[in-house]
């Protein structure tokens, strides 16, 4: 199968964030960046799908949109086993999912590519929008299933599970399709030394991203108020009645 996997390079969420002087973004100086968590699951799923297929014709193309450093994320994907990379260059990744989707759709929808599947993570861990996948599919006119937690493909058709609040939904769809991938479907592998060496020889094409006009912009960025926690009610089971009293009379949550 020919599979495109869209990856986003995001700041490590373990970081301590500060607000940049422009007051509309976080300060990226000193932050570590990596592939967004859910995109890692999407890539691992693509690798497994083609491995299961066993030696047949297959290609995994990884795409990422962003500044120069985005190429590092693509290299990591290549070291995990993807075949080639496409870097859609832009100085700043827009916040608006639609502006990104327009650039991805322009690349993925260009003639003669014949992808069987386009995969991406359920959401990026920086913006938390979960919009780029279905928007890209809408622009391309492709069938789309979001937040896939289980997948089976057979003879040009697919069956997927989605986890709703308390329910599991089964969805059937036709290929080609665009899927966004939930956590847990396939834990991403670590790049092997051999993979890292091989990745150096794999091609990465860079071209300007055909970004759409953003409809949603960030007007202000703030840090959430610090929680003033840390109140120790007591030690051991003797502290329980006091805790219950506080929950009832002070916090009023009982």
């Amino acid at each position: 199968m020919k599979i495109a996997v869209c990856l986003k390079r995001v700041p490590d969420t373990e970081s301590r964030f500060t607000i940049a002087p422009d007051r509309v973004s976080v300060d990226t100086a000193g932050l570590k960046f990596d592939m967004s968590d859910f995109d890692g699951y999407a890539l691992e799923l693509a690798l497994r799908l083609n491995e299961q297929q066993g030696g047949g014709p297959g290609e995994i193309v990884v795409l990422s949109l962003g500044p120069e450093g985005t190429q590092e994320t693509l290299r990591k994907a290549l070291s995990m086993g993807a075949d080639r990379g496409i870097h859609l260059a832009c100085e700043v990744v827009p916040f608006d999912g639609l502006a990104i989707a327009e650039a991805l759709a322009a690349e993925l929808g260009a003639g003669g590519q014949n992808y069987d599947l386009i995969l991406m993570g359920r959401n990026a861990t920086d913006t938390g929008n979960a919009t780029v996948g279905p928007m890209t599919a809408a622009i391309l006119g492709w069938p789309c299933v979001t937040a896939v937690s289980w997948l089976e493909l057979k003879e040009g058709k697919g069956t997927a599970h989605r986890e709703l609040e308390g329910f599991t939904e089964t969805v059937e769809f036709r290929l080609p399709a665009l899927l966004t991938i939930d956590e847990g479907i396939a834990r991403p592998r670590l790049p092997s030394l051999k993979g890292i060496m091989a990745a150096k020889k794999k091609p990465v094409d860079s071209r300007p991203a055909a970004l759409g006009e953003p409809r949603v912009t960030v007007q202000a960025m703030e840090l959430p108020p610090e929680r003033t926690g840390g109140r120790i009610v007591g030690e051991g089971p003797e502290a329980v009645p006091e805790l219950a009293r506080l929950l009832r009379d002070e916090a009023k949550v009982l």
């Binding site: 979960a130 109140r231 120790i232 051991g236």
Partner: protein, 328 residues
């Protein structure tokens, strides 16, 4: 100007998020100089009977779309129908729930109409030409204020962020047709199965009792379940370490890669407070931690903490909560 709210059903019943989006649309219509609230209700035959419930929260018009093939969600038909309704009426805003279904539906509609969507919004302000929306970013470590210019501005609302407020309206029902033949859809929901032990969903429960590695073994989750049962309105959550080990199903995971929750009360049992877990629950209104290590990160976040052996403390707390509940 008028505003639209897209209602959500599960097994033929309106979900609470439906009343929340109607409340939001009412608020937005009032702020945008007054106007009607339309609620779009798509479902199987007879679903129009639910319209009065939406009227109670301020829907002036309930646009009912009934079709035998739409008893379950159908992403392409729902999206085409919502997009057609937004095209046919001049709305100032359109509100969707940021539920699992709404987060699938809203970007499809926004993509089809090439409209801006502020997703997973916890609060908003609307004027005649600008909508400002608050949306947590970087897994809740920062808060963005988003700006959408022009109409209609589309918003998906985080469940529970804006509580439903009754505002009875003289509601009228208008019937309309699906904008796409369900038989022509390329994606179909073929089954909807209730997961075992999912009595109260993590996103809707006012109280969550969550367990971590400190419980030492899967069987000890019984303590967490008993405490949740004593509250009577609590759901059970878990850390990633616990779901990775198979003590609990993956769907119970609260954290960066699991569910993001903000209940009234979050009780963390034997949870040290890894950043990835805190990301999923730090917006809870009140946090209680029970942990033997007074220096664990969760203890610094907690409003109330007890230091000690959870195997002694939790059963005692369960007993105490039973007493409180018995007196209510």
């Amino acid at each position: 100007m008028n505003c639209l709210a897209v209602a959500e059903l599960r097994n033929g019943a309106l979900r609470k998020v439906s009343f929340e989006v109607v409340t939001a649309a009412r608020r937005a219509a009032n702020a945008a100089g007054g106007g009607e609230v339309h609620a779009l209700l798509i479902g199987g035959p007879g679903i129009g009977g639910r319209a009065t419930e939406l009227g109670r929260y301020g829907a002036d018009v309930v646009a009912v779309v009934e079709h035998p093939a739409l008893e379950r969600y159908n992403p392409e038909v729902f999206a085409a129908t919502a997009a057609a309704y937004l095209r046919a009426h001049p709305f100032r805003c359109g509100f969707f729930p940021a539920s699992a279904q709404g987060r699938d539906l809203a970007p499809r509609v926004a993509g089809a109409l090439r409209l801006g969507l502020a997703a997973d919004v916890v609060d908003f302000e609307v004027s005649a030409d600008v909508l400002l929306a608050r949306h947590p970013v970087y897994i809740g470590k920062a808060m963005a204020t988003l700006r959408l210019a022009g109409s209609p501005a589309l918003v998906s609302l985080r469940p529970g962020a804006i509580g439903p407020v009754e505002a009875p309206a003289a509601m009228r029902v208008e019937r309309t047709e699906p904008a796409l033949d369900p038989g022509a859809a390329r994606v179909a929901v073929t089954d909807l199965a209730e997961r075992a032990a999912a009595k109260l969903d993590l996103g809707e429960a006012p109280i969550i009792v969550s367990g971590g590695r400190g419980l030492k073994a899967a069987a000890n989750f019984r303590l967490v379940e008993e405490l949740a049962a004593a509250f009577g309105n609590a759901a059970v959550g878990a850390t990633r370490a616990v779901t990775d080990d198979g003590w609990r199903p993956a769907t119970d995971q609260i954290g960066q890669t699991g569910r993001l929750v903000s209940p009234q009360l979050y009780v963390a049992v034997g949870i040290s407070g890894a950043i990835q877990h805190l990301a999923g629950m730090r917006t809870s209104k009140v946090i209680v931690a029970i942990n033997r290590d007074k220096d664990a990160p969760i203890m610094k976040l907690a409003d109330y903490a007890i230091v000690g052996d959870l195997f002694e403390i939790v059963p005692r707390l369960t007993e105490e909560i039973r007493k409180v509940r018995a007196g209510q």
